[in-house]
Amino acid sequence: MSAVKPPVLAIENLRVEYPLANGAVFTAVESASLVIQPGEIHALVGESGAGKTTIGNAVMGLLEKPGHIAAGSIHIGGKPLDPSKGSAEGVVLGRDVGAVFQDPMTSLNPLFTVESQLTETMRTHLKLDKAAARARALSLLEAVGIPEPERRLKAYPHQLSGGQRQRVVIAAALSCDPKLVVADEPTTALDVSVQAQILKLLRDLADQRGIGILLVTHNMGVVAQIADRVTIMHRGKVVETGPTAEVLRRPKAPYAKALIGAVPRIDAKLDRFPVIGEEGKGRAAEARAALRGKAERADAIADGTPILSVENLCVEYVTSGLLPGSKGHTFRAVDGVSFSVHSGEVFGLVGESGCGKTTIANVVSGLVRPTAGRVVYRGQNVAGEGAVRRVGPLRQAIQMIFQDPYSSLNSRMRIGSILAEPILFYRLAATAAEAKDDVARLIEAVGLEAEAAERFPHAFSGGQRQRLSISRALGARPKLIVCDEPTSSLDVSVQAQILNLLKDLRDATGLTLLLISHDLAVVRQMCDRVAVMRSGKLVEEAESETLFEAPQHPYTKELLSLVPTLDRIRGESEAA
């Protein structure tokens, strides 16, 4: 890279504002500056609402109205971007700036073949004829590593896997030889194994073609793996910027330190997660002690029989045919899975998307009926052939926490009525006043103020909602809680808080947790024992430490090796 070339992207003192309906102005980005040289990957990280995507959109001229650039400048390849038009003189989105978006399921038009999506931009911007565009599309597909590119050209997006689709999106972004690619969370929707391939592809493109990449992400592991430089943002402001290794190893700003500290480690188990800011408030400890008193945990099983055992579980989904009477298609989501969970432990179930882990969570919590096999809770068959009906204490015993805190609370009900529902339904409180007390205690136990009962769910942030969702599950006084990806839609600092909360609740009430997750680092931090799943089957089950230190199955080894982590960098800094 010669020094005389202008940087592919230079942002100086950028300020993006959104005028609000009431006349106030929301500043999404304030005095942000960054420079990307050719061949450099510059990561922009931060939690949701930090303004990182806004910067990406400003560069691409895709700011949503009424948002606009209020101050500062953006130069693309040395040419200034006109804030009023949202594009630089002679710079065309699609030709000089390529875009890769988060979700490959929606960023390709389902009605066009791969060929027409790829050739469209080339024919518009490069004025290529059909044959030349096709030849170029072929070479691009080869460059992004799609097998049998000849055949894939004819394919529609739904005929490709998620990873292949994201490759096609990247190929489209590269189609006109851009100098700059803006990649907004390019691997967030993908599994770790696919993510590793896409990250390697981006790195190769930067190295071999000298493309500058602005990588917007929330994942510190991704940053550590491929970025040359990193800029950490918080509430619209740049808090720290510099070479990746330096920033991640020795962050200076307090927020950067806290953010990096909150990333779950996969290399060693910690007692608690370091947490940014306050970790819940109020009388959490008292409230938890009170819950424990009510839960009557006297019946802990002493003789070592498991609290829950899943035996030979099979779940099949039948998709119906197009015409009535035509034979449907059977899909086996869970295929002969057996494991058992002991009282008081945290049992982890990990695997990539589509491996059947969530289906198992649904069977255990009674939402889905198994095709074969059974689930036994404390000697009682609760799912499968000959299962007893789950009513009363049996139904109360197993509760669930869901992935999406935005849809798991009914937006038309006050928090108080949502939390009181299980209490009143199971008559766990003698009077209305007592129920109200219980609700207050539940809210305090998850680190919120009891006044929350009077408010509606929209008044709370994602992390607070997840806390409330946990207190609803606790309201039925369960013995076992199924946690289905409880933190995967939360920011890393909030994730640390929620995971700490689950640990504390487990310690205080002797709960058993079945934790479903795709995040191996989270699983290592939380679980006592772990089972790894792959396409409906259990491939390995072991004590958590054993599994992470000495994995036996090749798939487990592969998964562990693919996770992008901070640990390499961290390890070096500790050795130094």
Binding site: Q403, S407, S408, M413, E421, S469
Partner: protein, 303 residues
């Protein structure tokens, strides 16, 4: 705190002036109709209050008009304005009743179909499909015809409104059921419903307490548009002679009566009720269309 009278209210509703005007007009007509017994100059249902001698008097503003009868009189000597006010009341009450019955039935069946799916869903929705394959008027004629055949009192002033409400609702519930079914399917897949299932709440409680409040906004929108449609259907049926009897006329009955006299130069008996009907239906439709657009996120323009 802002009071209701603050200037912000109207801008916060965000409706264009034409919609506000239509809403005001619709409200005025409905209010006048409902208050007919107090504001109408005469009582057309009271035989003693009118005289056949006054029959077919033209409106007061024409050359031969009588100052006592602002819009003239009908063929029985009833004051047309009073008869129209009472008629509008009948029309609106039948329309409103039909919407209420159709909405209740449709929402319940839609909830069941969407929540349980499978055979329950197939049964309810196929019945709905069959009903929709008949033209609205034909089906309503069928229902009121059958009712008159098996039940001799069906044509009387007491029973005719109930028969009409049933005849119109038979058709309209399907639209509610389809909309609510679709919305219920979306809501049922959401985590808050799954959470309620895991807690072990009975299906009835999940449907009524959790899902119903979340599927109601499209129902309100459909109801507005259907109210106008129901008033029109009622008028059509009455015009065809299977609706309200002439002794207790709705707007449709009045138009039918007037229709017989139009060619003898007595135009007002048909014209004024017809105008009232058009204005009412148009106003309600404008409000309904606006509501529909407003609750449809796809059509909402970013401001």
């Amino acid at each position: 705190m802002k009071t209701l009278a603050s200037p912000g209210l109207i801008t916060r509703i965000g409706a264009p002036i034409s919609v506000l005007a239509a809403a005001a007009l619709a409200l005025i007509i409905v209010a006048c109709a409902l208050l007919a017994s107090w504001i109408a100059p005469y009582d057309p249902t009271n035989l003693a209050s009118f005289d056949l001698m006054n029959a077919e008097l033209p409106p007061a503003f024409t050359a031969d008009g009588d100052a006592h009868f602002l819009l003239g009189t009908d063929n029985q000597g009833r004051d047309l304005l009073s008869t129209m006010l009472y008629g509008a009341r009948v029309s609106i009450m039948i329309g409103g009743g039909a919407v209420l019955v159709a909405a209740t039935l449709g929402v319940m069946l839609g909830l069941l179909a969407g929540y349980f799916g499978g055979k329950v869903d197939a049964l309810i929705m196929r019945i709905g499909d069959v009903i929709l394959s008949f033209p609205t008027i034909l089906l309503a004629l069928l229902v009121s015809g059958v009712a008159r055949a098996v039940f001799p009192g069906a044509a009387t002033a007491e029973w005719a409104p109930i028969i009409l409400i049933c005849a119109i609702a038979t058709n309209e519930w399907v639209q509610y059921a389809r909309t609510v079914r679709a919305a219920t399917m979306v809501e049922t897949a959401k985590d808050y419903v799954r959470a309620a299932k895991v807690i072990g709440l009975p299906s009835r409680r999940i449907m009524l307490r959790h899902i119903l409040p979340n599927v109601m906004s499209p129902v309100l929108v459909i109801s507005t548009i259907n109210l106008a449609a129901a008033v029109l259907t009622e008028a059509t049926l009455s015009f065809l002679g299977v609706g309200m009897p002439p002794t207790y006329p709705s707007l449709g009955t009045l138009i039918r009566i007037g229709n017989e006299f139009v060619f003898s130069g007595i135009w007002w008996i048909a014209l004024f009720p017809a105008l009232a009907l058009v204005i009412l239906v148009l106003a309600v439709n404008i409000v309904g269309d606006w509501l529909r657009d407003r609750f449809n996120p796809k059509l909402r323009v970013k401001r």
